[in-house]
Symmetry: C2
Subunit: 316 residues, 2 copies
Amino acid sequence: MNPILKSAIMRDIGLVNSTLSNMIKPESKLSFDVYKQVVDSGKRLRPLIVFYSALSLGLSDKNSALRLGCIIELIHTASLLHDDIIDDANVRRGKASANVVFGVKPAVLGGDYLYSLAFNMVLSFDKEIARIISKAAYLLAEGEIKEIENSFRIDISVEDYYDVIYKKTAVLLEASGISGSILADADYQDNFMEYGKNIGFAFQIKDDCLDYESDMDTLGKNAGMDLKEGKVTLPVLYAAEQDKHLMDDVGEFFKSKNADLLHSITGRVKKLGLEASVEEAKKFSKKAKSSIIMLPDSRYKDYLLAIADYAVERTR
Amino acid sequence: MNPILKSAIMRDIGLVNSTLSNMIKPESKLSFDVYKQVVDSGKRLRPLIVFYSALSLGLSDKNSALRLGCIIELIHTASLLHDDIIDDANVRRGKASANVVFGVKPAVLGGDYLYSLAFNMVLSFDKEIARIISKAAYLLAEGEIKEIENSFRIDISVEDYYDVIYKKTAVLLEASGISGSILADADYQDNFMEYGKNIGFAFQIKDDCLDYESDMDTLGKNAGMDLKEGKVTLPVLYAAEQDKHLMDDVGEFFKSKNADLLHSITGRVKKLGLEASVEEAKKFSKKAKSSIIMLPDSRYKDYLLAIADYAVERTR
């Protein structure tokens, strides 16, 4: 990313972080620790999209856009807390995850606290915004349930894959775009819905590609983690179109957990499925950009375009 | 309970159950199974309080009161799902709990789905109602976090105990009373706040007493479960005022988990702490009743009074 844009966005991430800290005043030390564990890092994609969407449409009340963005980030943070429990994940962004450090109980309740606080705080905004955000939250849970139902299955279609990633990732980014734009000018909410949704697809597909490129040093987790968790993602589906034995081998790996077989599968996925998947992510990134091309020139528009590039160019 | 009142209330529980079933149309089979597991039983205290509070003040739109009551029940159900995970409970109301039957993952996500759906649905009501209910939900999570922080500690005061039970139980019943009354006539919300809150205290204290009287046959769980989970409740605190060695023995039990010691402790708690605790529960039940004494005579008022009696008279 252009270093001038990057430093401007980093400054706004600082604003988001201080707003977040001011929003949470847990009376309990335990819930604060759980919260800190997740909140100390993170890309802040959702609050930035709310903030820039609103400001690119000329909103002058920056604080309300920041606050709304942070409310959505609380929901995202809560879902990460619960997601970590769900995956028995030991590592989140290179750090031990909250449920390992503090136990399952505080991680579940810490998430519930953040969800409910967010739903309470969003009521200071328009009801329509509260409706969009709470709907996104239940679709998110639905997507994660569906992901579990699909796990360790080799008959997953590309449609199944898109249905899950729409709900588990794109929906909350879509809600970020829509609600940010409603704050400023409701006439453009369809454009920002498209922007957020396509950023979500681009981001998740890129994430699923990185899983086949990653190692402990760069991404803070091992390669092939998704397969270990039973997740059949786009690179696998694309590779399987050319390698007719791949899916049977994946099914065999789901049963045997054989490390050599995993090594063979990840090698074939890298060779046959990665490039087409990265191209697909780029298409979504382009769609995101073209959906806001009608905006007047401004630095906020530039930031939104830069985020769309970042979604697919990042290496972690 | 008077059999005529009882059969009328049972009929309304039937109404609540069919409203609940119509509200949830999960597209996923898994989330539906999780939901059914919890929702098939239950006292329906919260929806009944919403319903009767509104109707005792003359509300004619019964459906909206039913719907609001069921929304609060969804939040309660979600918290039970998460509470079961939290306690590693194998049994809930005599049945295997959802996280044992389906695994931790669906139980966490099933709860998240119900929470978010409830927050979405409550937006069809007045914003003030949504605000009260979402605040109750985050206080509930805070109370459960505090309960964990207090667990396996012998320096818990009666004030600590009341702080926890206010948040984990009374707050959502208080919200039921307030929001039900707002539907009909906001002038009486303080009365119904008092009603709900005091029902909550009565109910939870009675629950904590039942733990020392229960066996697998009547309550679906073993006696002394609370102590096994590290919970120091009112009967223990009252007994300890007369038995100066009790708390040290409780501390010793928390370390050793010695079954003979538990037997000795539960015996002393039954003898020295139960009666005073039951009396305390009855005081709250009376307070609940006197807070709605100004209502004009109606069968709904009778039901509310009957619920206050039931809270302390029940044997399970």
